[in-house]
């Protein structure tokens, strides 16, 4: 095994151990003191509004698939969809989910059906609305515009993998006067979202939906663990700068190059 492989395993086990540690020793007071993220507060507001109005939420899951680097964003989007369905269980219409990836559209349908059944809302009309609207970036964006412009949709939540085409979706939401909350892991799209969405989810905020919307212990623990690892990375980076200044940076280079 290379040094890189060994380091990877150590990091994963440390991350996992830390998540379990925080879950077992969790402090509910600390959970309440999570940093405020305006986008999640807005999501809760729009869910409440949707229930009152009897309208529909639109959750766009982007066009990222499962077999690529874009999978984390897609999974985060599905997690947000799941939390939204739970929170809007008393709503007359289930959220409509759009995606540009076939596998994600399957999972979206399954989540809408499965979660609705799990929270016993069979009394409601709950047809699974997980649409594959287009397979290329532009066809996906154009297909999603039709859903955004539907009269019944009162708010849009964009969570998944997007490119620059996200500007059309956020602008369309604004034109319809429906709030648009958007998050992605792709950097150029994040810059566009920051300028054009009602509430953007910046950086890793998209991955923390479970902690903020569902208050699940393991999700809150993973947020705490991310914070700890972020500080470790900051310390390592400063250490790297000092070591480089002292001419002793070969040790880090060896680890990064995977020299055993």
């Amino acid at each position: 095994m290379t040094v890189t492989g060994f380091t990877g395993i150590v990091i994963i086990f440390l991350f996992l151990g830390s998540m379990f540690f925080f879950t077992l020793t969790r402090d509910q007071e600390k959970e309440r003191n999570l940093r405020q993220i305006p986008a999640f507060r807005r999501i809760k507001e729009v869910i409440g509004l949707t229930v009152e109005e009897g309208s529909q939420l639109h959750v766009s899951l982007g066009r990222g698939g499962f077999t690529s680097l874009q999978s984390a964003s897609a999974l985060a989007g599905l997690s947000i969809l799941q939390e939204i369905i739970k929170a809007s269980s008393v709503c007359d219409s289930p959220p409509v989910a759009t995606t540009g990836n076939a596998t994600i559209s399957f999972l979206a349908q399954d989540i809408i059906q499965g979660t609705s059944e799990a929270i016993s809302t069979e009394g409601h009309e709950r047809s699974s609305v997980g649409e594959l609207v287009g397979l290329t970036p532009f066809s996906y964006a154009v297909g999603t515009l039709t859903t955004i412009r539907e009269n019944q949709v009162s708010a849009n939540i964009l969570a998944g993998w997007y490119g620059n085409e996200i500007t059309w979706l956020t602008t369309a939401g604004e034109r319809q006067s429906s709030p648009t909350i958007a998050g992605t892991a792709q950097l150029p799209a994040q810059a566009i979202m920051y300028a054009s969405a009602s509430e953007p989810l910046i950086g890793e905020e998209i991955f923390t939906a479970g902690a903020y919307l569902g208050k699940k212990p393991m999700h809150v623990s993973s947020v705490n663990t991310q914070d700890i690892f972020r500080w470790i990375l900051v310390v390592l980076m400063i250490l790297g700068i000092v070591l480089k200044y002292l001419g002793m940076h070969d040790i880090f280079q060896s680890i990064l190059m995977g020299v055993s």
Partner: protein, 214 residues
């Protein structure tokens, strides 16, 4: 098209396969097993694509029946889908039966219809982005918005040449913005995203997050 997974079984399979694929990245003995699962995943994704297109077709047939403002677009989509499929079959038939050059008509469709449409959409996007930047300043007139807008403006002017002449001072400022604060910020965001990705992956591996079966 409502698929019901048996949740405990699906969770066990997902965790088992996930652990093996992850271990395959670090333990050389598991590489072949990792590739086997990844190949199986690719085949399943391809099957999902076919079913997804059928779903797309069904959704738009339903929308056509609603007879609202958007039903015309659904009609065009269904027509284009069927036409492209038929042309694809015709090309395939020609290629395999008569040894004609491969998929000429489909290539023509992509080169002369799909490509120009997507290129024009790309051009429209430039306008959309400019519109978004100006709307942003009008909507949120706070310090960060003003800084954001002026940096965008400075980088744009530094990138474009005015009257075929580059403005040296602005070019240098643009280079500094792109190479120092923008690059540093992007790396910071990427580190955060990497940590978020690890956390999401591990939550799925231990079954806390289950993007299947609800």
């Amino acid at each position: 098209m409502n698929i019901k997974f048996k949740t405990p079984f699906a969770t066990a399979v997902a965790i088992g396969v996930g652990v093996i694929v992850l271990a395959g990245y670090f333990i050389p003995g598991l590489i072949s097993l990792r590739f086997l699962f990844l190949r199986a995943g690719l085949v399943l994704a391809a099957v999902a694509l076919i079913v997804g297109i059928l779903n797309l077709f069904a959704v738009h047939i339903r929308k056509m029946a609603q007879n609202d403002d958007n039903s015309g677009y659904s009609l065009i989509l269904v027509f284009a889908l069927i036409a492209t499929l038929l042309i694809g079959f015709f090309d395939m038939f020609q290629s395999y039966m008569f040894g004609q050059p491969n998929f000429q008509t489909i290539s023509w469709l992509f080169t002369y219809i799909q490509l120009p449409i997507e290129t024009s959409l790309m051009a429209v996007m430039a306008i959309s982005l400019t519109y978004a930047a100006t709307r942003f300043l009008r909507r949120n007139l706070h310090t960060y918005a003003v800084i954001f807008f002026f940096i965008v403006l400075m980088v744009l002017i530094g990138t474009l040449s005015i009257f075929s002449q580059e403005v040296p001072f602005l070019t240098q400022i643009r280079q500094w913005i792109v190479q120092v604060p923008a690059l540093g910020g992007a790396r910071g965001l990427l580190l955060g995203i990497a940590l978020g990705t690890i956390a999401t992956g591990l939550r799925i591996l231990i079954g806390t997050d289950r993007p299947y079966g609800g």
